[in-house]
Symmetry: C2
Subunit: 511 residues, 2 copies
């Protein structure tokens, strides 16, 4: 609820303030800088780290205020904006602006109730998500909301309320076809980059699959990060629609089409916390599928001791919750448990994973078999629920689509439609991590591998990551490379090698 301007006592007219673009990069956080001695700061009682509302015409942006002293930087009547704040306010240099306290955030009372263990109804979630998307929550308040829904996990009703609220605040796509298929992997398995392959197979068989993917949350690469090394993924809704109408499928970044703007905000904070929860996961996945206009979705749940989901029971529970919430929105979800005991393919990191994808699509002799089979199984399930294959025959059709080159041809066409096929970058620096003794590979720690790839610079450094030289069961000699670290900068290579030297047992070898 937006607070109306004070009615009982007029706020005196502010003397004019002029806006100044600072060229200051603060990621998503709107930062406002004013002079310590500015008359408006004094009359409004604004101090450093106050939340303030900067208004111009009928636009406004809420941000964190910092104050500067001295006369070298800002004059008393100037309001400096960071790039994010500048983009949101859409002003020109020197325009008049007003600076006030932002309205009180009513929905924070819901967050506090949730922290103390009360469950929230649809209205409460809707209020929270609206305020979050309007930029009214500070990082601290966002962190509290996400932590509270991790500490007392959301139940099915809450998860559905959050999903609904997240759909409400975003754009929504509609398609002129009764069946729109989609797929999603709940993640936690490095290198599991089946999506581009699945989209190519499914679209090659005449189904519609408008796939939007996220960037990495806590992993070294999301599908959007990997796909971006092969083609542009920042498609707006018009571009996405054009690609799908032409080719039947796409692999676009979800953030650029604003299907779930709330999710983009939550994800950034989850990344800083390195925490993601079942409820947020389901709401994140389903809000985007529903907003994308999907009618059927195949969900890949990798299970393994160091994957995100660690037991078949946990996977079954997640599948049950996911399916139940989806059905409340008329979406048919099919969940598939897959092997999560080791990374999929050889590469971990945006470009390294893209190279695996290319190898499978192009059918090169040493293409990773596990990625090949897994993509075919998921595409097969999509072909079956989409009515393009008999029950039990989907995987065979998917394999045939790959073997015949039809999938690769479709993928090339999709990349061209998205803006042109690209060659993934190669890292200027690589360094092996070798086996300390001879033996058999008995365990691979996915979590430590993900951390290693992130220390090497992934996902921000596209070429960075880890290339696996071994798989479970391999017999190896002492000194043989277990993996190679790929990095774009010497600093990042050093951090990753340091971690590899001290983390112990990323790849476990039994003599």
């Amino acid at each position: 609820m937006t607070k109306t301007p004070p009615a009982t006592a007029a706020v005196p007219e502010q003397p004019a303030l002029r806006v100044k673009r600072l060229g200051l990069h603060t990621q998503h956080q709107p930062v406002i800088v004013m002079h310590v001695d500015c008359h408006v700061c004094r009359s409004e009682g604004l101090s450093a780290r106050s939340q303030v509302l900067v208004s111009s015409g009928n636009r406004s942006v809420q941000g964190t205020l910092y104050q500067v002293e001295g006369d070298g930087f800002l004059s008393l009547d100037e309001v400096g904006l960071s790039e994010t704040a500048w983009a949101l306010l859409q002003v020109s240099e020197g325009d008049d602006v007003r600076v006030t306290h932002p309205p009180a955030i009513q929905s924070l009372a819901n967050v506090r109730r949730r922290i103390y263990g009360s469950r929230l109804d649809a209205g409460a979630f809707s209020d929270i998500v609206h305020d979050v998307v309007a930029g009214r929550y500070t990082e601290v308040q966002l962190a509290a909301f996400l932590t509270a829904s991790a500490a007392l996990p959301m139940d099915e009703a809450e998860t559905a309320h959050l999903t609904g609220a997240m759909i409400e605040v975003g754009d929504r796509l509609q398609w002129d076809t009764p069946v729109v298929v989609d797929k999603h992997c709940v993640g936690g398995l490095p290198g599991n980059r089946t999506t581009p392959i699945v989209v190519a197979i499914v679209a090659a068989n005449g189904l519609v699959m408008p796939k939007t993917s996220s960037r990495a949350i806590t992993s070294p690469a999301g599908t959007a990060d990997a796909m971006e090394t092969l083609a542009p993924v920042d498609l707006d809704i018009a571009a996405l629609r054009r690609v799908v109408q032409a080719e039947g499928g796409c692999v676009a970044w979800g953030g650029a089409v604003h299907l779930s703007p709330a999710d983009d905000i939550f994800v950034r904070v989850e990344r800083e916390l390195d925490v993601d929860t079942e409820g947020q996961l389901i709401a994140s996945v389903l809000s985007k599928k529903i907003a994308a206009g999907s009618t059927h979705v195949v969900i890949d749940i990798p299970v393994g001791p160091t994957a995100k989901v660690r037991s078949e029971e946990a996977a079954a529970r997640l599948a049950g919750r996911m399916t139940a919430v989806a059905s409340r929105f008329g979406l048919s979800a099919t969940c598939i448990q897959t092997d999560g005991s080791q990374p999929v393919g050889k590469g971990i990191g945006p470009a390294l994973e893209a190279l695996d994808v290319l190898a499978v699509l192009q059918g090169v002799p040493d293409a990773p078999e596990d990625l090949h089979h897994r993509a075919a199984a998921l595409a097969g399930a999509a072909l079956e629920i989409g009515g393009k294959a008999e029950r039990g025959r989907g995987t065979a059709l998917a394999m045939e689509t790959l073997a015949s080159g039809r999938a690769w041809k479709k993928f090339e066409a999709i990349c061209e439609a998205q803006g042109g096929l690209r060659v993934p970058p190669k890292a200027p620096r690589t360094h092996p991590v070798t086996a300390p003794r001879a033996g058999r590979v008995v365990h691979i720690n996915n979590r430590k591998l993900a951390r290693l790839a992130k220390l090497a610079g992934a996902p921000d450094a596209k070429a960075a990551g880890v290339y696996m030289d071994v798989r479970l069961g391999h017999e190896i000699d002492r000194g043989q490379p277990l993996l190679h670290i790929h990095a774009e900068t010497p600093g990042e290579l050093a951090y990753a090698l340091d971690y590899a030297a001290h983390a112990g047992d990323i790849v476990e070898i039994e003599p």
Copy 2:
């Protein structure tokens, strides 16, 4: 645990970077600004909102990086520091600095475990608190830790571990006397400013009471905020010791003596969340009492429908937990339940509460009786546990100390020793809120009153707040003032009046 510098691959020597003081006020948050095109940002893979470590000699400060473009502000080899970062690093303009990734924060794994419901041991709390005090936690990570310990409340053992960890990282006082008394109010009751009166009475009777108080967390005034309008409270340890040795007591701000630096950090985030929990409350109170060298403490627990503690059962539970944790550290705690159904005294806000304190100490005819009696009861309990009065005779001795003027004389002496007695400021703007109908005052909402005083500018605006014209049971006419809002700026007065007009039933009147 501090990560050792990478051993397996040398980080190349950085070209020199020069430090620049930006005069940028960001409250407690260390902010670092570098040029987007700086070679170190590129080679280290640093981007906006990265956490970075700036080092000079053997000092370093961790902060949030923002990046700036263009050539008007910073050159490529300059590292701009906010005032907080500047103070922590203790450098001079143009000094050489190094900028690197900060070491990984190992203790965050404990925070994540706590979010997911695992209880933590002493070692885990110690690691967390050490990293927090070293400035390694971002706001988001601090918020997650505090929210997690609100969602699954800390048990007695955890509360003791946190208390111990908070004592560990701060300074500790010792006194050459077997009995050192202290008092504390768990808060939630506007205007309950007994501390300065209690200290004066107790010290006038020869007991040692080195009182440190906090600033407001979620209330319109803490004792330190109110006392600051009467005398300086930013005493360092040497000054505090000098005041107590001379006068037997003091009322100092705890943050300035670093008795519990972790608490100062937690409190800022709690304030932004408007959340405080029993475990944090107990650890906050007891860590400071124990670090101050107290042997006995009287704890005031106001109980009322809109106070922080709402029932006698809840008060008894809190008292039980507080006493049990205190005893683990050899501290004897005496908890006293008091009436929390309405504000204490007439003023709410730093200066307005200080004026009530002065009225009681000086024995002026219209001094607030409730504040007088409450302070005497708490001082009486302290006199009894400190051995200066027989059991049951403490309150009478306290009353006599006030009536005789001995308490006022002692208070004047303490203020002079702290740096000089001050006259509390008066707000330039006051405005009444009047009764919408005639009748009897049957309920006063403490929480809404606190919010009203905060909207008026308290505690940052010292003179701002609320002055109560009525109490429970008063018979009033339509149009008669219920309270006056005091503000320092027209904007804040308008916000407060707007809230008073729309919040409904801050003071409930029954015809």
